[in-house]
Amino acid sequence: MRVPPRLEQRFVKVVLWSMTAITVFVLLFIVAYILRRGLPVLSLSFLTENPHEMGRTGGIFSTIVGTLALTAMALAVATPLGVGTAIFLNEYTWESRVTRIIRFGADCLAGIPSIIFGLFGFILFVIKMGFGWSILSGGLTLAFMILPTIIRTSEEALRSVPRSYREVSLSLGSTKWQMVTRVILPSALPGIVTGVILSVGRSIGETAAVIFTAGSALRLPTSLFSSSRTMSVHFYILAREGISMPNAYGTAAVLVLSILLVNIVTYRLMHRFIRKYS
């Protein structure tokens, strides 16, 4: 017997809508679960005190500093490289085999699992170059991880700048570099910043690549060569070794909130940017 199309559609709709509801529920449940148990733990002293007894007591201050230091290091390396790559691809060369190779390389890099980055960073930076477990090793490893994101988003931002701006700038007697710095980068800035912030989110949340390169020392880092524990690594260790569940939840809540904040800022920026040029 053939089911009438209208009836079939009604049935399918019910199924699809319930699946959607389940999906959205599960994703929101995860955030809500963490926040419900983590928010009560949060206090000013939790944020401003260093961890004591492996994190059983005290706050998470040194891990916040570690996270920020590692992220800053990664951005300081990856942003010039990524934006420079995008500028070269978009403004200084024609489409060719070379640009295809560069883009393919970036795409491949984007797909490499973080544990491979961790393995690589461990051997190259920690062991062979002798940086040890340090902010330097971890930051460089993270920089390589976020490089493709920055290239990709910067390229999109540059591409959305109207071609006529380039013609006007050049026709008024600018060099190519003046055109890039005075006309194109200012117009593409919100898009580029979006990519950078997106990478911040990724750096904050990363664990596998960081634990093998930056180590897990709980002390407050004092130099680029200090080993340092990030919030994600701290959370992982607290939870996996069962050191302190309340502190694990608290750390997770800070982690989730900061990433949500970062992503919301990105989203806002992106939308303003899109509206401006379409």
């Binding site: 420079g84 491979i116 994600s232 990433i259």
Partner: protein
């Protein structure tokens, strides 16, 4: 040549150098992983690595088959669980929901893509593992638990890219089918999904890459026993966990064997990347034509 021209040429040269940063990093990583990982494979026989059942690094036995099977099972499980929900979500949000709801839900889902994997793993430990243990028996740390958590983790990726693929279809496809008296669902099933196939396939392959490569979440919930699981309730160890679990104390041949694990993982990921790339470039060509 004027001073300005010299400056321009210098800038161009610097930019050209930076442009090769990503490719160079990729090359260096590849060389390192292979240089560290392949010698032991050839010394002890590639077959032993790929098909050996026993992983006893202390005794010099490095069979990776349980981990290879583990990674594949867990990934397959994640796709079986995640993809139907993700596609349902994508179809509902593009075809059946009001634009208002879509404009709220799509960003919400994309925001969740940023939740760190350790958080997913943790939820798995405190909610899912006990549930499985009490409902189905066994230790709870299992293929099933890992598949479910990975299935959830790939949702945002698959949903977001599938929505893009569906929205990129020209409105005329939709209007044409509806004008011929098809219901919305018939339009989706017979016109839209087939037309957006390559974009959807690319989204699934990307999700697959994420599942294969995920490490910390899997370590927390999979149980990590280095044996081929017989049922979905048995614990399992993946290639990624194998590296992460033992890296901190491995040395000598043991460390080399972990790099060999990295080599296999690397090859799997590269194959997936190439597939995704081919699939999405076919989509780009299709759009132009």
């Amino acid at each position: 040549m004027t001073g300005l021209d010299r400056k321009e040429n210098f800038i161009r040269a610097v930019l050209l150098l930076t442009a090769f940063s990503a490719v160079s990093v990729l090359a260096v990583i590849t060389v390192f992983i292979f240089a560290e990982g392949t010698p032991i494979m050839f010394r002890r026989g590639v077959g032993g690595f790929l098909f050996g059942l026993n992983w006893y690094p202390g005794e010099g036995r490095f069979g990776l088959l349980p981990m290879i099977v583990g990674s594949l099972e867990v990934t397959l499980g994640a796709l079986l669980i995640g993809v139907p929900f993700a596609l349902a979500c994508a179809v509902v949000l593009t075809e059946f929901s009001s634009p208002r709801l879509r404009n709220i839900l799509k960003p919400v889902i994309e925001l969740l893509a940023g939740i760190p994997s350790v958080v997913y793993g943790f939820i798995g430990v405190v909610v899912l593992v006990p549930f499985i243990r009490e409902t189905f028996g066994g230790p709870g740390f299992s293929v099933l638990a890992a598949s479910i958590v990975l299935g959830i983790m790939i949702l945002p990726t698959v949903i977001s890219i599938s929505i893009d693929a569906l929205q990129a279809l020209p409105p005329s496809y939709r209007e044409g089918a509806l004008a011929m008296g098809a219901t919305r669902w018939q339009t989706v099933r017979m016109v839209l999904l087939p037309s957006a196939r390559s974009g959807i396939v690319a989204s699934i392959i990307l999700g697959m890459g994420r599942a294969v490569g995920e490490t910390m979440a899997v370590i927390m919930i999979a149980g990590n026993a280095a044996a081929v699981p017989r049922t979905p309730l048995d614990p399992v160890r993946t290639l990624t966990s194998n590296i992460a679990l033992e890296m901190s104390y491995a040395s000598g041949e043991h460390r080399e064997a972990l790099f060999a694990t990295g080599v296999i993982l690397f090859v799997i990921i590269m194959v997936l990347n190439t597939l995704a790339n081919a699939s999405s470039s076919r989509r780009a060509r299709g759009k132009r034509g």
